[in-house]
Structures are given as structure tokens and as C-alpha cells.
């Protein structure tokens, strides 16, 4: 299997689907001849042409809304938000038009909205956000957040083939930092959790970039056997896998890079409190970004985003409980 970066794997998945299905097309700001702000669609314009790699006006509401219109008449649009932060401008079309369409009138909206998320590189308050929980709270939208290159490709293909609106949270800080073996050709990764590393004493539940932070923090933690569960999908949330890890490990640390209140991890904690209580040997512990905008300057940003040491400390305290 070829080795690819996380970013190359996303491009590869997108290219596979565009080659296989003429209904699939890409639209967004600067995705055409320029190849996208992060170069996910580099070379696509030359292969597929301007109609299928469509540079759009700077209008996020219309990017999502026109994708909805194209989807209901049979297309499979893949929209790129240049930064996930900008989806706030397309929130209404996604939450009110796309998300509620099937329930209201039985009309499917197969759109994929690619959301380059996350911080860690001094992007500041408007280029670092993790908006996944906004969409977990809105019925009718699936939310995916891959951590590995292999999953980034396979989950993107699953998203494009899904008949529903899907927010595909691709973590910017993983784009070129993470490499891995990626199967050739098209494959779908299931929208279920994955045990990133098995363990018995404690489980760290994470998704996206925090999977790697959790793996690093717990690789050798005083000899404890620590499991890392990579959620991969937030909607649908893999309750069985979460409860299975809790039953085996009995202690849980949940990590979000997002702001803490009502984050994905809060939902996981509530699920464990309701359905995993009998298996717990300690409080459910959460590590997340406090409820502040993501600051620009490196020491400030490091102070708010969960770091390896934060996870280590949380695990040590819980192991000693």
C-alpha cells in the first residue's frame, strides 16, 4: 500500500469518487485552478475541468444552499469551506434547509461539506475552531472526524456515498503531519469507532487530532495499560464501542479539542453516565479546551488546547483514584 499524508488521502478519496461518479463535483472558494487553500484539490482542475471543480463566489451560505439545490435534483456536491470557521455563514442552509429536508418532506440531500477544522498552528480565533458539536445538535446531519490517513480517505468516500448531509471534519493540523499506508482504489470506512490501541486499565476516548495527542500521552504511562478509542464518527455516535471500552477498562478520560461546554465529549460523558455507570471505577474525566476563543500567540494557544501533559495528568489522577 502506498504511504500518503492525511491530506493526500483526502485528495485521493475525492479523486476516486469523481472518477467513478459523474454526479460528484467539488465547489468552494479557490478550489479550481488554485487547487484550494490547503491544496486538497491540487491538479483536479486540470483533470476534471472548471465545471466539476467549481470556483464559487465568496458566499458560504450560497455554497451550502446551492449544493442543496443541486443535490435534490440528483447531483452529489462536495463543498469545501476554506476553513471550518466559515461554516457559521452557511449555518442556516445546513441546519434548516439541508438537515431537516428528509424529515419534513422525504427528500434526500446527499451533500458533503468538508470542514478544515482545528488549531495548533497560530490560526487565531477564526481559523482554529472545532464546530462539530454545532451540527451534532442539529437533527439530520452526520458528522465525521477522521484521525488517520486511511480513515480520512475511506470516511470521505462514505460521506460522498451517503444520501444525507455530512459534515466532514478534516483536521488541518493533521494534513501534512500524519502519514500512513492507504489502500489503493475506492473503499468505504464504516461510520463507527475504532480501537486505536487496546488496553485494560483506562480508556481515553478522542477523535480527530486528539487521537494522536492521546496516543502519545499514554504510550508509556507508568506501565499502565491504556486503551485509546478513536470515535471517527460523532453522528452516528458508536454507543456500543464506547460502552464496550468502558466495560473493559472501567476508567474513562474523554478528550475534545473543541470548547468544553456541550462538546462531543460531553455527549459521550452523558452516554456513559446513563448506560455505563455500573462499569465505572471512578468519575468520568474530561479534558477539553476551556470556553474561550482560540488565541493566536503560541504560548496562549498551547495554554488552552489540550496538550500531551494535560492528558497524562488526567490519566494519572484517574488511575490513582
Amino acid at each position: 500500500m502506498p504511504e500518503m499524508t492525511y491530506l493526500q488521502a483526502i485528495s485521493d478519496g475525492l479523486r476516486e469518487e469523481m472518477r467513478a461518479d459523474e454526479r460528484v463535483f467539488v465547489m468552494g472558494e479557490d478550489v479550481g485552478a488554485f487547487g484550494g487553500a490547503f491544496k486538497v484539490t491540487d491538479g483536479f482542475f486540470e483533470e476534471f475541468g472548471g465545471d466539476r471543480v467549481m470556483d464559487t463566489p465568496l458566499a458560504e451560505s450560497a455554497i451550502v444552499g446551492t449544493a442543496v439545490g443541486a443535490a435534490v435534483v440528483g447531483m452529489r456536491p462536495v463543498c469545501e469551506m476554506q476553513f471550518s470557521d466559515f461554516i457559521s455563514c452557511g449555518f442556516d442552509q445546513l441546519v434548516n434547509v439541508a438537515g431537516k429536508m428528509h424529515y419534513r418532506q422525504g427528500l434526500a440531500v446527499p451533500i458533503t461539506v468538508r470542514l478544515p477544522t482545528g488549531g495548533g498552528f497560530s490560526g487565531g480565533p477564526f481559523h482554529s475552531q472545532n464546530p462539530e458539536a454545532w451540527f451534532m445538535h442539529a437533527p439530520g446531519i452526520k458528522v465525521l472526524a477522521p484521525a488517520t490517513a486511511e480513515d480520512a480517505k475511506g470516511l470521505l468516500i462514505s460521506a460522498i456515498r451517503d444520501p444525507n448531509p455530512v459534515c466532514f471534519c478534516e483536521h488541518k493540523h493533521l494534513y501534512r503531519r500524519i502519514k500512513g499506508e492507504v489502500p489503493e482504489g475506492a473503499y468505504e470506512t464504516p461510520m463507527r469507532a475504532r480501537v486505536a490501541r487496546g488496553g485494560a486499565d483506562l480508556v481515553v476516548i478522542a477523535y480527530g487530532a486528539m487521537v494522536w495527542t492521546a496516543l502519545e500521552a499514554t504510550e508509556d504511562l507508568d506501565g499502565a495499560s491504556i486503551e485509546v478509542l478513536d470515535l471517527r464518527s460523532l453522528v452516528p455516535l458508536d454507543a456500543d464501542a464506547i460502552l464496550d471500552s468502558v466495560a473493559r477498562c472501567s476508567k474513562v478520560v474523554i478528550v475534545d479539542e473543541a470548547n468544553a461546554t456541550c462538546a462531543a465529549g460531553a455527549q459521550v460523558a452523558a452516554l456513559i453516565a446513563q448506560r455505563g455507570f455500573e462499569h465505572l471505577d471512578g468519575p468520568v474525566v474530561r479534558v477539553a479546551t476551556p470556553d474561550v476563543p482560540i488565541p493566536f500567540s503560541p504560548p496562549l494557544e498551547r495554554a488552552v488546547l489540550p496538550q500531551v501533559d494535560d492528558i497524562k495528568e488526567a490519566c494519572r489522577e484517574l488511575l490513582a483514584y
Partner: protein, 354 residues
């Protein structure tokens, strides 16, 4: 240049139909308007009896706008219909009983009780229901047209939009996008003088029809209470769309009832209502149709009977099963494509026959 958007054509002027409408077409236009008004009046009485939950919104006095525009649309065209445009659903082929069932939240209503009042579109007839955030559907219709252009299909999309919604960003985003990509989309701006209680002079400083030119495509003001004028403007806009480009049609009309059933619209001057009552779109079309020698009283009786029968059917529909309330949030399996709608205009009939 200041423009008076409140003046329609005087009621006494009865322009002859253009070459594109047969006598049967002209009668059909009247019939759809009568059906719309009759269904909404029946629904209002059901509302007053407590059989319509929530509130009730109607398009009394605006029947020509949706009738005329929808009548110009082909079977494969796609429509996003607004809340004062009931006749568009009738033209496309939705049965009156399913509309009354919709108002009453019945299982047999168009959305099976998922949605209320006029928030519906029958996907099998090529219509997509509106959302309450206006004018979101302008952007959706633009996207439909974008897909038609990408696939090289000779079809267009149409949506209605109110005067209030011209103030929101989606109005601008849709107008600009449609112009940049030269899309086959028609925006019918239904200027009914008030957005809830807000009059035009608190809504915009430049009449929105003039904005079309600023974006780079034609804008046309039409007497929205003249159903044949509405048809003709939309027919021409459709030709323009198929040749590659959008049109903004401003249909000047008047909301003759409150925003919804609870609204006594005391904020509207009485004289304004009286002035517009003289321009009632049904009265005007009725005069034309009578001049053709058609027995309008018999037509009215047939429409009334059809509505009574529909009300009976709707009242006999079951309420939805509460066990279904959580189902269908996501699509599982293959998406059902939008179907084609009815296109009763003789022009399409001739095309089919040929």
C-alpha cells in the same frame, strides 16, 4: 429614480391575452385562482373551528402571482414555493384534499403531519417546500439551476420571494451567484407591500427590481394582480433562462389579509385595502373569461363542490401515528428523485403532441 410600487393596473383595463394563451388556458388560470381562494377560505373556517393547529397563513388577493408564474413552467422545471403561493401546488397537480389534510396535520396531508401550513412541496411533482428563513429557497433554486447547467439540460428553476426577504444576505448571494454563472433561474419577487407589519419604506431604499441590473441581469416589474401578465412575464423569463440567464420579476400586489390568522393588520391604512380591493385578481380574470362566453357561475359551482368534497376527504384522514415522530430524520437507502409536475399550459401540450 423613485418608483411607485403600490400602483397596479386599474381594474377597468382588461388587456387581451397574448398569442400564447388559448381560451381554455384563460379559463384554467381563473379556475386555479378560484381553487386557491376557496381552499384557503375553507381552511380558515377549519382554523376557526379549531381543526387547524398552529396558525394559518393565506394569499388572499395574491392568487395571480403563483397561478400565472407556475402556469408558465414545464413538467421538468423545478419550483420552490412560498407561503402565499398555494396555486402553484394546484397547478403542479397536488390534490386539494391533501392540502387541507396538510393544514390539519393529518397523516394524509402532503407532509404527513411533519410540517404545518404551506411549508410543503410534493417532491413527486417537482416541488420543494420552503423553510421559514426567507429567502433561503432563492439559493436552493439557484443550485437546482446550477445542476441543470452542469448537465446541459434545458430546464429551469423558479422560486418566489417576498419584499421583506430582499433585505437578507441570501437574496444577494443568490442574485449574484445566478448572474455570475448565467443560470436558468427565475426569481419572482412578490411585493405585497408589507413584511408582517413592516412597510416597504422601512425595508429598502431602492426598489429591488432595480437591483437586478446591478447584478447583471434583467429585472421586470409586473402587475401581480393580473394573472395573464404574470404568465406572460414568466413565460418570457423562462425563455431567457433556457437561453442562459436569470430574471427577477417583481410582481406588485397587496397582502389583503394579516400576516397570519391572528393578525388584524391594524397597521395597514383602510384606504389602501379599499384601493387594492378594486384590483382583485379574480374579478379581473372573471371579466375576461365571461367575455369569452364562459359560464363562470357554473365554474364557480364546480370549484366549490370540488373543495367541499376535498374537505370531507381531509376531515376523514387519520391523525399521524405518534410512533412515527422520530422516524425519517435520515435517508436510508437510495434517494427518491424529484418527479415531474403537471404543466397544464397549452404550449407544453402542443410540444408533447408534436
Amino acid at each position: 429614480m423613485a418608483t411607485d410600487t403600490t400602483l397596479g393596473t386599474p381594474a377597468t383595463a382588461i388587456p387581451v391575452a397574448g398569442e400564447h394563451l388559448t381560451s381554455d388556458d384563460r379559463v384554467a388560470l381563473l379556475r386555479y385562482m378560484l381553487l386557491m381562494r376557496g381552499i384557503e377560505e375553507r381552511a380558515m373556517s377549519l382554523y376557526k373551528q379549531g381543526r387547524v393547529p398552529g396558525s394559518f397563513y393565506d394569499g388572499f388577493g395574491q392568487e395571480a402571482v403563483s397561478t400565472g408564474a407556475a402556469f408558465a413552467m414545464g413538467p421538468a422545471d423545478r419550483l420552490c414555493v412560498l407561503h402565499r403561493d398555494l396555486a402553484a401546488h394546484l397547478v403542479r397537480g397536488v390534490e386539494p384534499a391533501r392540502i387541507l389534510g396538510q393544514y390539519m396535520g393529518r397523516a394524509g396531508g402532503v407532509t404527513g403531519g411533519r410540517e404545518g401550513n404551506v411549508h410543503f412541496g410534493d417532491p413527486r411533482l417537482g416541488c420543494v417546500g420552503m423553510v421559514s428563513m426567507l429567502p433561503d429557497m432563492m439559493v436552493v433554486a439557484t443550485g437546482m439551476a446550477m445542476a441543470f447547467r452542469l448537465r446541459g439540460e434545458a430546464r429551469c428553476a423558479l422560486t418566489w420571494v417576498g419584499d421583506g426577504a430582499t433585505s437578507r444576505g441570501d437574496f444577494h448571494e443568490a442574485m449574484n451567484w445566478a448572474a455570475v454563472q448565467r443560470l436558468p433561474v427565475i426569481f419572482v419577487l412578490e411585493n405585497n407591500q408589507y413584511a408582517y407589519s413592516t412597510p416597504l419604506d422601512l425595508q429598502f431604499a431602492v426598489d429591488p427590481v432595480e437591483r437586478a441590473r446591478g447584478y447583471g441581469f434583467p429585472g421586470e416589474r409586473v402587475d401581480g394582480n393580473d394573472v395573464e401578465a404574470m404568465f406572460e412575464a414568466t413565460r418570457r423569463a423562462r425563455e431567457r433562462a433556457l437561453a442562459g440567464g436569470p430574471t427577477l420579476i417583481e410582481a406588485v400586489t397587496m397582502r389583503m389579509h394579516g400576516h397570519a390568522a391572528h393578525d388584524d393588520m391594524r397597521y395597514v391604512p383602510h384606504e389602501l385595502i379599499e384601493k387594492w380591493r378594486e384590483r382583485d385578481p379574480i374579478d379581473r380574470q372573471e371579466k375576461r373569461v365571461r367575455a369569452l362566453g364562459v359560464d363562470v357561475d357554473a365554474l364557480r359551482a364546480r370549484v366549490s363542490a370540488e373543495i367541499e368534497q376535498a374537505a370531507k376527504s381531509a376531515l376523514a384522514m387519520d391523525m399521524p401515528d405518534p410512533a412515527d415522530a422520530s422516524r425519517g430524520v435520515f435517508c436510508e437507502g437510495e434517494p427518491e428523485p424529484l418527479g415531474d409536475g403537471h404543466a397544464p399550459w397549452s404550449g407544453f401540450q402542443e410540444a408533447r403532441d408534436a
